[in-house]
Subunit: 309 residues, 2 copies
Amino acid sequence: MGSEFELIDQAFRAASPSRWPGTEVPNGDDASVHACEPGTAWVVSTDTAVCGVHWPQDFSLELAVERAVCTALSDLAAMGAEARLVWASAMAPDAAAITMMGRGVSHVVARFGLELAGGDTVRAQTTGLNVTVAGILPQNTAMRRDAAESGDDVWLAGRIGFSAMGLEHWLSGERDVDMVSAFAEVEPLLATGTAIRELGVRCCIDISDGLVQDAGHVAVASGVQLHLDLGACEDWPELVAICGEHHAVDLALAGGDDYALLFTAPTRLRDSLAGLARRVGDCREGRGVVVSLAGKPLVLPAHGYDHFA
Amino acid sequence: MGSEFELIDQAFRAASPSRWPGTEVPNGDDASVHACEPGTAWVVSTDTAVCGVHWPQDFSLELAVERAVCTALSDLAAMGAEARLVWASAMAPDAAAITMMGRGVSHVVARFGLELAGGDTVRAQTTGLNVTVAGILPQNTAMRRDAAESGDDVWLAGRIGFSAMGLEHWLSGERDVDMVSAFAEVEPLLATGTAIRELGVRCCIDISDGLVQDAGHVAVASGVQLHLDLGACEDWPELVAICGEHHAVDLALAGGDDYALLFTAPTRLRDSLAGLARRVGDCREGRGVVVSLAGKPLVLPAHGYDHFA
């Protein structure tokens, strides 16, 4: 067998000690096979992260890969799924980078008790990782973008603006862990996603491209207007203290990479949800997104991060 | 909405008119959701194809992308699965290439009646496509690499050597469709895969990295020795007529990109399988792969294509 296969074995296949009981054919065949559990649905998301686009050139490759897997898991969290399986395809100019990427993938796989079900490696000028993740949930319970209703509360689990602030610090040369960790370490809110789904929440999205853009997706898909109060978001005073109110507003509205969960719920769920997220607004008749601070509506950016703008 | 999202919509999301009845949440949310059918298993494979590695720089991007999706589908064929869902992540330096890639994906999606369940686009120096495909089959019926038994026949559905020959013609400047189509057009043998699984075949692999290497995977995983007769392969005389016996042997043994199905089956299945494939050898006690031509064993290459050799 050639060295590509040894690399895959070393860096990827061996990375997955755990296996779900339903896995009939694990990693290492043409495809993996997973028995369906009656009454459940599969939830699948795929994402490609590329060096120089999704993380800075001088960033730790191992951390970048962990981040990439975690951002894919954040999509499962937003649906309310229990994460189970990961497929990872790594591209890089050399074998050392592939090994490093395998290490990053295996850390996340172990940390969340997942199974690495497959993947491949390819030599390319660009260093990048494609991650496909799958989870399960009971049929017809997935949280979606189009299920918000006028009169619902809007909730936010997790902080916004801090990740973009951490990235700015990194790009300015700052290497103090406390200042850049909000960008470096993505925590997919899987437990929160499952908990709010079980409480009856039916509309959720993860904030990856900026609060305004992602809240806008919910508004468009559901045909409602979202009213949000920035000051009600978790740790808002801390963000203002670090970078001033004007810049804090920019970062929170359109910074991106937050991986917080924005969801809507009928008011009767207020007491149950209070320990899981912050209530930051409500849904009304109308279109689009209105964000206020101290009672005043803010001027909103046209859109968040755009690869081909 | 930014232009990235318009591009995704135009080039990818709109490409999928069909939806499986089990799809609860289609393309366009954080993840897609697919209800499980009782008694079935999901079969999933992922692959990354990169310009300059998996196809020549001057090759049609649209065709290259169709090819990439078809090679992923070939993995499902090798397991015996019915293909259902595709997730596609495209990277390219410009929006025009992304649009072209979306067109290639949509052609294959339409041709095989699949559903495009998700994906993303990213700007990168490298042009490449990651494809994840999923299919279903009855539980505990998947064809695997480790199920060959001593005494089984070895069968081959599809031709070998022709794709590598077509690529050589392309690289030498030949643009005649007949001469390069064996490389340009990959036909995933989905119907054959399903048919042989239903007849009771339990061991199969698709020939993507060369006959010797992939037959070797079956030999190692199953703990048997595979004996193959090159002259019994489909259209072997034609390949010899085009490029001479010496070169035909090289192409057939290690050329790769064949996407033929190699499978093993007990001798009692001979009559049923005769219309679906060619019987090209048998499994014996021992290790490794022996390939003969006109009764004489050939000297075999050490391994097939290796990205990091």
